[in-house]
């Protein structure tokens, strides 16, 4: 296969409010396996950012190490990217966010990255409610080291070698709910209709927005007996609702479309429109989300969609009362107290 992407794009490609086509949101050509779920997620990120008319250079894309963490190279080519160390993307994202609160932080991680080596940082970035989108591309296995079970592999799920995993899985969405994440969603890489609005809503959420995306590994974990294969997920997926993200400016034309669903008002007046399917889920109620997730698990179902949102969420900057201005924009005159203040300090130390 070729690793050179044609520069040609159809001249009639639709443009967004910035005058950009999706081309401006693409990255380098993917080197992941053909059919990798992660590439579908990259496509959803591209589409969501395009549709929301986000200036690509105002996005910082960060990741750890692993197949999933390679994907930021493949989307948003005009954004600064940061491929940090294994599992430690959340800390780099936290520092970056503290330095400049005005960018959009898109963190991408994998199940090895976030559920094992980086579990500590995953837990604490939720605790701090850092304003970022955190997508776990969850395939239940280690692709780069050729197919070992990860901590999210279901007990009994079989690897390519046919060996059943003896250990209980870590449920990333359940964990995020338990830890108090202010936005929790779950989706499937093969379901762009659901995933794109979820990413849009996550971008709009002023706090930690977590999306656990089941993303089959076509090479090492797309076999019979795996619970993270394309076939298995398609057969066992149960959506909480049909999701649509309605930007503020389109409110008048779309918010009254159906009337049978629920409109979740975001902080800036935009909406997440839910065509409700799951009777036992109230997305404002964390306990209800936890119950729904557990009930689905008991039925061997994978519950997808928006699980929980706290529309009153405030982020880390609010908690620690950081300046409204980006800290990296402050100049020496605002940062350095100068010699006369220092002389006063010297005086106090004599």
């Amino acid at each position: 296969m070729t690793y050179i992407r044609s520069q040609f794009r159809h001249p009639g490609l639709p443009k967004n409010d910035l005058g950009y086509t999706t081309k401006e949101y693409e990255g380098a050509i993917s080197t992941l396996c053909a059919g990798c779920g992660h590439d579908s997620i990259s496509g959803s990120i591209i589409q969501a950012c395009f549709e929301m008319s986000i200036a690509p250079h105002r996005i910082a894309k960060l990741s750890g190490i692993g197949c999933s963490s390679k994907t930021p190279t493949y989307f948003l080519g005009h954004s600064h990217g940061f491929n940090s160390v294994h599992g430690r993307m959340p800390s780099v994202a936290t520092g970056a966010n503290m330095a400049n609160r005005d960018l959009l932080y898109m963190g991408v991680s994998g199940d090895g990255d976030s559920a094992s080596i980086g579990m500590g940082q995953f837990v604490h970035v939720i605790r701090r409610n850092l304003n970022m989108v955190y997508i776990v591309m969850n395939n239940g296995c280690y692709g780069l080291t050729k197919g070992q079970d990860s901590a999210t592999a279901d007990a009994g799920s079989k690897s390519k070698k046919g060996v059943a995993n003896p250990f209980q899985p870590i449920d990333m969405a359940g964990l995020a709910l338990e830890l108090g994440a202010s936005f929790v969603a779950q989706s499937f890489s093969g379901d762009k209709e659901q995933l794109i609005p979820l990413i849009k809503a996550a971008i709009d959420h002023p706090g930690f927005a977590f999306i656990n995306v089941i993303s089959p590994c076509v090479t090492f974990n797309n076999n019979p007996g795996s619970t993270k294969s394309y076939d298995y997920v398609r057969e066992h997926m149960e959506a909480t609702a049909t999701v649509d993200f309605v930007p503020l400016k389109k409110e008048i034309t779309t918010s009254y479309q159906k009337g049978t669903g629920t409109d979740i008002k975001m902080h800036d007046g935009s909406y997440i429109h839910l065509e409700k399917l799951a009777d036992d889920l109230d997305p404002y109620d964390r306990l209800s989300a936890m119950n729904a997730l557990q009930n689905a698990r008991n039925k061997d179902e994978i519950l997808t969609g928006l699980l929980y949102i706290n529309p009153e969420s405030t982020d880390l900057h609010h908690t620690i009362q950081t300046s409204d201005r980006a800290l990296n924009s402050l100049g020496q005159e605002e940062l350095c107290p100068g010699s006369s203040v220092l002389e006063g300090i010297n005086g106090e130390l004599r």
């Binding site: 200036a55 940061f82 491929n83 800390s91 503290m98 005005d102 900057h317 300046s323 990296n328």
Partner: protein, 608 residues
């Protein structure tokens, strides 16, 4: 003929950890400082919250020697647990002040020591009703007694108490009462002369007294740090606490009341350094502070910062290792770990401050250096410097000085630039240009990664490109040799076949040892190293002497190894003078070790 020891003796306080003795002992030391007499206090404390023995040494030196000196002239012992050891540590003819509320055990009586019993507990129980006050004021009572015996001016103590309790004026009167109770007891009960005297001098000039950690915290404020991420660990914790204290006064937005800084207490050291790297990558000056165990954890990230070339500032307040070692004792034993932090071929820039003024200056300067060189800068202080008060020259800031942000391209520069390559060596100094995320809509974005990449930041496993990049990093290393602080040479011309080389907190005692040995007609040339990579003059200094004594506070002669490794210095030439018992090295120790090496060629005088 008997002579009084005027302004030249050591007082040691033996207390129980957690009983509030620290402020009383500090009051004693600060009062001597205010009388214009050079003084250096050292807190010797256990890794324990409450209950174990703790000591506080105060060295008073008319000559201005500020290193630790062994041998106690006056022991103030209010800890029964450590009393047998404390009695033994007093020099013959010295003094032993104890709480005589309880009778001293006969086994603790030494014929050659003068005993001064003061019923501290009895006095406090009689005079104060509150149980906490009864305990706290025991310490103030002995300070009052010492003031009377040694000659501390009472008015100085009163002023210090007024300053200490500014805003809590109710506490001043009972403290003064406690001081007077101690002084009065001495007047009423003791009438024999003490040969230790304090006399007012004018020997401290405009010097200040502060600990190194506070100086680092203040330096970070002046250096423009805005994002601080940390994980508490002794002995570095007070660096960030000091930064926060100063920032709360100096960095509040006057309109909104919000903070022009962000401090995040991380979940561990790995996260702390990750946050610092993320913030620096995003254009904010950021730092963390830690100690050896934390530095170990940070190694992986430091390798990333070195290879991806991200400015990073880290203050390593060293303590005794390995492992948990002795967490509250001092050492200079993280040198090699820091110099080569992380796997692969890495070299990290180190700074070695030796007093609070340098802590302030080097911390402030570290942010310039980090951005100039786009690499981690590790400040190597230690517990002795960080947690003890030191007499120091005052802090200085030149208002004309501008932060040097290094090679950062703004939107306009990017617009005018025909081609941007993040790792292109445009100027031939190994230092490349960077951009801050969000700068330009279409130009200047790049991918930061720990994997090999080409000059345009694109991932590559091409061996030649990898080697080219590694060679450029070495070129940058060479550039750094002339940018980092140059070593301090104590004289311009070589006068001796022997050189002495030292760094950091060994400086106080090394200078004293040089001074004392020169009085014995043995002179040495001396150099103080202030940074790694070594400036060319360090190699010249070694090459121009027959022997060079390398003074350091670790077992394995880590700086010596670094000198041999990086300068190809002859191992036979470099003679180690080591100290690794967790206590600051003394001048006596240095003289003894050098003497052993040189005798019988030279006869050296021996101090004390």
């Amino acid at each position: 003929m008997h002579q009084d020891k005027v302004n030249d003796f050591v007082v040691r306080f033996a207390n129980v950890n957690g009983t509030g003795s620290a402020s009383a002992n500090y009051l004693f030391a600060k009062a001597i400082f205010r009388m214009g007499i050079p003084v250096t206090p050292k807190n010797i404390f256990p890794s324990n919250i409450q209950g174990l023995p703790t000591w506080y040494d105060v060295r008073i030196s008319e000559k201005g020697y500020l290193g630790r000196r062994e041998g106690v002239d006056f022991m103030v012992c209010v800890n029964p647990q450590s009393m047998p050891d404390d009695v033994r540590s007093v020099k013959a003819g010295g003094y032993f002040l104890y709480d005589s509320t309880r009778k001293l055990h006969p086994e603790l009586i030494r014929e050659d020591v003068n005993y001064i019993g003061i019923p501290l507990m009895e006095i406090c129980n009689r005079e104060f009703t509150d149980p906490r006050q009864r305990q706290l004021f025991k310490n103030i009572v002995y300070v009052g007694a010492l003031a009377q015996m040694l000659g501390i001016e009472f008015s100085v103590l009163e002023v210090l108490l007024a300053e200490q309790f500014n805003g809590k004026e109710k506490l001043i009167a009972p403290n003064i009462k406690a001081l007077k109770l101690g002084a009065q007891y001495v007047l009423d009960n003791y009438n024999y002369p003490i040969d230790l005297k304090l006399e007012r001098r004018d020997l401290v000039g405009d010097k200040i007294m502060i600990d190194g950690n506070a100086a680092c915290g203040l330096g970070a404020v002046y250096g423009g740090a805005t994002v601080v991420a940390w994980y508490p660990i002794t002995p570095s914790t007070s660096v960030v606490e000091a930064f926060e204290g100063y920032a709360k006064k100096m960095r509040i937005d006057p309109v909104t009341g919000k903070h022009n800084y962000a401090i995040v207490q991380a979940e561990d050291e790995l996260a702390a350094i990750g946050m610092v790297i993320g913030a620096n990558w995003n254009g904010a000056r950021s730092f963390t502070a830690t100690s050896g165990p934390g530095l170990s954890l940070m190694n992986e990230f430091l390798g990333l910062a070195y290879f991806a070339e991200i400015p990073t500032v880290l203050i390593d307040v060293q303590r005794t290792g390995p492992s948990t070692g002795m967490p509250t004792r001092t050492q200079q034993s993280d040198i090699l770990l820091a110099a080569y932090a992380s796997h692969g071929d890495t070299k990290q820039v180190l700074l070695f401050p030796s007093d609070p003024k340098e802590c302030f200056e080097m911390t402030a300067g570290a942010f310039d250096l980090a951005e100039l060189l786009q690499t981690p800068i590790i400040m190597m202080t230690d517990l002795d410097l960080g947690m003890n008060d030191h007499m120091s020259d005052p802090f200085v800031w030149d208002d004309q000085r501008k932060y040097n942000r290094g090679k950062v391209l703004n939107a306009q520069q990017l617009e005018e630039l025909p081609q941007f390559g993040r790792y292109l060596d445009v100027d031939g100094d190994g230092i490349t240009y960077r951009t801050i995320p969000g700068t330009h809509p279409t130009k200047g974005s790049f991918f930061t990664r720990g994997t090999s990449r080409d000059e345009f930041a694109a991932y590559t496993e091409d061996g030649d490109i990898y080697a080219r990049n590694m060679d450029r990093l070495l070129k940058k290393w060479d550039t750094a040799k002339d940018i980092v602080p140059a070593p301090y040479l104590y004289q311009k011309e070589n006068k001796s076949p022997y050189g002495v080389l030292f760094f950091g907190t060994s400086t106080y005692s090394a200078e004293e040892a040089m001074d004392l040995m020169s009085q014995g007609n043995v002179s040495f040339d001396a150099m103080r190293v202030k940074a790694f990579p070594f400036n060319k003059t360090v190699g010249d200094f070694i090459n121009s002497h027959e022997k060079v004594f390398v003074i350091e506070q670790n077992r394995d002669a880590q700086l010596r190894s670094l000198l041999i490794n990086e300068l190809d210095a002859s191992p036979q030439k470099l003679i180690s003078v080591l100290n690794y018992n967790g206590m600051p090295i003394t001048a006596d120790n240095i003289i003894t070790q050098i003497s052993k090496s040189l005798l019988p060629a030279k006869k050296l005088i021996y101090h004390q």
